[in-house]
Assembly symmetry: C2
Homo-oligomer: 713 residues x 2
């Protein structure tokens, strides 16, 4: 790729970014778009819909940038929970790394690369006509002493990343403990989930749980809630909700046709009456099924068991309870609104088969995904394209067209295909057997991350068939050599990828294109009511893998092609401002894992480091500097040992809270008069939402919305 092609791509993307920023600065001030741009504030009630028009609203203003810049970590903690803080720290963590790597890369490595003469002399007169390869390590002569500069850079940056990884893990780990200390009593801290409850004949799950915990945890046991099979009920309630919406819509819209003919020659029927009757039927049905579900037959052999202290719950969840280890399986309960209820409805066999299917589906997805990637690879190769489509020859000779095709289009297509991966992965995780939404998201985050690394990094680098990639993995001895040949060759593609995928994706995150389009399309049909919209939560499983993948690109390419670093830094700065702004205005957390995403970040960085070392070994061998490649070897070994240490030192705190903390927290509240009330609410905290009386409004402020509720449970 030539410098000019990169510049074209850069131009297009910068233009797009500026456009998005400008549009956002205007649109966010229009009350009609509040739902898209400030849903969090709207729900909080701190932003009111002002209908008064003034000119200021039409002038783009950068005030939000200042605001986003100024907020502190405590603010983010209160807006977005500890997960939000961890997410922002991921961005600042990457920024710190690439500022250091960038200084080394741009001021030391880039001059060394440019003044090499392996490929060609750099043409300073016409910079844009140089191949991008001139700026990479490929331009340094084999066996040159100058390669020791790269060697030192690898050591320095690796050391810096170790230090930063340790520092951040330590910081977030202690933050997690502080967060726990400062938290109000929450149901999930006092509750465990018990599964595989054995039931003797003539008894039921309810009685079994009661007698077991009264027997073995007499001093700490508080109450329990048996889980019931409610998939049928959930479907009915959803039907009811739909029906209710239709009625509200008909009532509020005077232009709507309110009568319809029954049958071909039937009489006219009042639609509202008709729907209300249907709704009543459904409600009757719901009540019937609810009382049916309360019977013993619909009991699942699982229950949420609450305790009088956090320590009591922890003891019960850590110790094997029964002589038969497959009975009374205990684990810490998720937050009540984080529970993934459909999971409990499926049978053991169904879960087992789903799990197998998920594994197969992931493999199939990985294989099929290579088709668009290969297409993208084809597009970056103009001569290949001319052979395939000879009629395009005349068009492709135009400089601009060829530059767009080689510089911009490939990344864009890849980008669009990648958009559909996170939802698919989330769906796959949801049928895999996790009991909470947060676990599903964490698992999806991991899936998307490894999918991205495999399908973007390795598929691009070894642009071949899946079988070829697998054959490389199965021949570990030659991985460095193959990486050394393939990785630097793709430097220009990944620089373009950072610009296209990174820059555009963050600015479109700011502009919220898809929610905006949805809102524009829906508006004419649905009358906007305040109760109708939901505050979105940030899809961590989409955004964390993306940032981590850029981290991987930065880590592996910083010494091969330092030119990638400025673009990465711009991306990270954009992300820093934009996500802070989004946390202020858009997203509200649905649940809080209290920083459990950080171990994923840590593992991914460790992988990036080891990959970088493998490439370095390969490069130095290929460049005939075998001493350097030998001296790199301690680095991956030490990285893995470092990782092992971190696993021992920090990971346990991300899985469960230690006894010391639990006991201290319990004692702190011992005399608190509010605890009685809390324990009262704890008894019903884990009620299945399908079993509580029906309410058809989703808004928190339910005073103005009609309520239809059934009094019985």
């Amino acid at each position: 790729m030539l410098v000019s092609a990169l510049l074209t791509s850069l131009g297009i993307n910068t233009g797009l970014c500026v456009l998005f920023f400008t549009l956002y600065s205007i649109l966010r001030k229009q009350p009609i778009h509040y739902e898209v741009y400030v849903p969090r504030l709207l729900a909080e009630g701190s932003s009111k819909r002002r209908s008064r028009f003034n000119l200021e609203r039409l002038i783009p203003s950068p005030g939000w940038v200042k605001k986003a810049w100024q907020i502190s970590e405590e603010d983010i903690l209160s807006f977005a929970g500890l997960d939000g803080v961890v997410f922002m720290r991921l961005i600042t963590f990457s920024l710190k790394i690439f500022v250091v790597a960038g200084i080394i890369g741009i001021f030391i490595l880039l001059p060394v690369n440019c003044t090499g003469d392996q490929l060609e002399e750099i043409d300073f007169a016409d910079l844009s006509n140089n191949s991008l390869d001139v700026f990479t390590i490929s331009n340094v002569k084999s066996g040159s002493k100058r390669l020791w500069v790269h060697f030192c850079a690898v050591y320095v940056v690796t050391g810096f990343i170790w230090w930063l990884l340790y520092y951040e893990y330590n910081y977030i780990s202690s933050k997690r403990i502080t967060y726990f200390y400062s938290s109000k009593p929450q149901p999930h801290q006092f509750t465990i989930l018990v599964r595989s409850i054995p039931v003797s004949s003539g008894s039921n799950v309810d009685e079994s749980v009661e007698s077991f915990f009264r027997e073995y945890h007499p001093s700490t046991y508080l109450s329990h809630m048996v889980v019931r099979r409610t998939s049928k009920l959930r479907n009915l309630i959803n039907d009811g909700k739909k029906m209710y919406k239709r009625i509200v819509h008909l009532q509020s819209d005077p232009n709507q046709q309110k009568y319809k003919r029954v049958g071909l020659f039937g009489h006219k029927v009042d639609l509202i009456d008709h729907y209300e009757k249907k709704l009543e039927d459904i409600e009757e049905n719901v009540r019937l099924v609810q009382s049916e579900v309360s019977l013993a037959e619909e009991e699942v052999r699982a229950a949420f068991v609450s305790f009088k202290s956090r320590y009591g719950a922890a003891i019960a969840s850590h110790l094997q309870q029964s002589v038969n280890p497959t009975h009374w399986i205990t684990e810490q309960a998720p937050e009540p609104h984080d529970v993934y209820w459909p999971f409990f409805s499926s049978s053991f066999m169904r879960k087992w088969i789903s799990k197998l299917l998920v594994i197969v589906a992931c493999i199939v997805l990985t294989i099929l995904f290579l088709i668009p990637v290969l297409l993208v690879q084809g597009l970056t190769n103009l001569s290949q394209l001319e052979i395939w489509f000879p009629f395009l020859k005349s068009v492709l000779t135009l400089t601009f067209v060829s530059q767009v095709i080689t510089g911009y289009l490939p990344s864009l297509i890849l980008q669009l295909f990648l958009k559909i991966v996170p939802p698919i992965m989330e769906f796959l995780s949801s049928i895999q057997g996790y009991i909470s939404h947060s676990d599903i998201e964490k698992s999806a985050c991991n899936k998307v991350l490894w999918f991205t690394i495999w399908n973007i990094f390795f598929a691009t680098v070894f642009s071949g068939s899946v079988l070829y990639q697998i054959s490389i993995i199965l021949d570990p001895k030659n991985i460095p050599a193959k990486l050394a040949v393939a990785v630097p060759a793709q430097a220009s593609f990944f620089i373009a990828y950072v610009v296209t995928s990174g820059w555009t994706s963050t600015s479109s995150e700011l502009f919220r294109i898809i929610p905006l389009l949805c809102s524009l399309i829906r508006r004419p049909f649905v009358k906007s009511t305040d109760e109708d919209f939901e505050v979105p939560s940030i899809p961590y499983h989409r955004d964390i893998p993306r940032i981590l993948f850029f981290g991987l690109l930065g880590t592996t390419y910083f010494f091969l092609a330092p030119l990638i670093l400025p673009f990465l830094l711009v991306y990270l700065c954009l992300a820093f401002i934009i996500y802070r702004n989004q946390f202020i205005n858009v997203y509200a957390p649905k649940y809080d894992t209290a920083g459990k995403f950080w171990p994923i970040v840590h593992n991914s960085m460790i992988f990036s480091l080891v990959l970088m070392h493998a490439i370095a070994v390969g490069i130095f061998t290929a460049k005939k500097l075998s001493l350097a490649s030998t001296l790199i070897f301690p680095l991956p070994v030490m990285t893995l040992l470092f990782n092992e240490y971190c696993r021992k030192r920090f990971l346990p705190n991300f899985i469960a809270y230690p006894a010391e903390v639990l006991i201290k927290k319990d004692r702190q509240e011992e005399g608190d008069p509010n605890m009685a009330e809390f324990f009262g609410s704890l008894v019903t905290a884990y009620q299945d939402p399908a079993l509580v009386p029906i309410r058809y409004s989703t808004s928190t402020d339910s005073l103005n919305s009609p309520l239809i509720s059934s009094s019985e449970v």
Copy 2:
């Protein structure tokens, strides 16, 4: 190998066995050999040294066989603990498998193999001149429908082994719980070992432990015992013991020279006086060091912490105690006399380096061990031998010599080399960082097992260099094909191996050659005193891997060469009687892991099964019965799933006791008046033996032995 060679080997070994049995039957009745043959009974006091001579003592009698046959499992439990029961069940478990496999093999598979005609027609007139290969699957024609008989046999035996594995795991698991319920209160049930104790400045380990457990476990904490660095002290005490023995020896033996000259022209010195003075010096020194060790500087950051209930100890050992997971690391304590004290003396770095060294040492041992194995392989090949040593030609042409060499010698040499492996592995495990003797033995058991499988099975089957073996392992796709070629070819070697190694080793176990020789050599020098001898404990790390290896041979060869099964059955019957006899007369357990060896047995059988399936796949492919080889595939998958299930179902009970059991056991003793006394003794149970007052006698009956003790601790 011809049938006649096998018969020769059989003859020699049967002869040896009969000889050993006869000698044993006579020698065991001689009071002079009681120490070798009935040390357990002697120590128990149930067998007295009768000096009265009668003729009966010289006539071999098989009474002991009857006695060994008649004892029940409860007897073994009382003689040898649950570990002894598990060991005997391993033998009966193998017996059950090979009785079933034997019936199928001998009555169904063997006729099928013999009537095949792939190799040659069997010569019924002169059976001993047939090659042993005639009896193996190699003799069945490729593509023959008869191979389906073998296929069915594989399925039937696999199913039977699954059932038996499940049954045994279940049985031993429940036995373990019953054993726990019926056990008296024991110190290790109430105690945990805490390591990495943080110490604030101005404090010491003792105070840290006290304040931490008083703070966080106020209701259950009882006492603690800080571990101290005592390697110096241990050396001194050993010196003292040696000196004491020398004095006793001098005192008791009137013929011994009691004076020696000091210097070249010095005066004569009374040796006893001289030694007693030395001993006093040492004792003085010991007291000095003991009081030194009691100071804070010699504290190790580890302590045994005792609790008032088993459940309390379990809670403390299962939950992460401190915010920093690398501090206050807890684990269940071993029995007091099972603690491996030297472990605590070494520093962290020394432990870490030792661990690395152990790994390297294991690899080196594996590589070097191939040299004798290759030599053995060479010996089985007569023509090879003639090329190497042409002068032997005339000797080798003698039928008998050649039969001894091919049939017997190879296994014997291998056998002798194998003898030294268990002690080496035990030594390696002891420096690897385990805190108890039982853990060391378990780890050594695993090491010896995998060493045996790798170095005997794989090295014999792929009789090539280590590199060749590793290249096979690294090419998993072709393992079945390579096994299919190599494994049946070695059938005759392994049949001979069972006879030589198995039969002879068990009968020499009965005859106790090495202890007998030691006792004979020592007798003239040391005057036998009752206090001087120690009851041996059975070296599980030597015997379990041996039986498991025969299990592996039986499982993998039963459908290839069913002729191996009768020999295996004879071996197992011998082992059954002999080990029962040894448990009655010889061995006394030093500590009891309560059946923790069984998971090793289970894993080994699962490995044998999967290996057998891999060989079956290879064989059926090689025999051009691809449908059968495809239909074998579900078997390894199901075996691994079965193993996964067993890990979930049984393994947790072998790691820790469940809460239910602990609480029940605690409640059972709540009102017991003896508990106060027990708790009193618990406080000092984990005293380092080097710190208790010195006693120079090892006998339990100390009334008659002189006691030299220091009053201070």
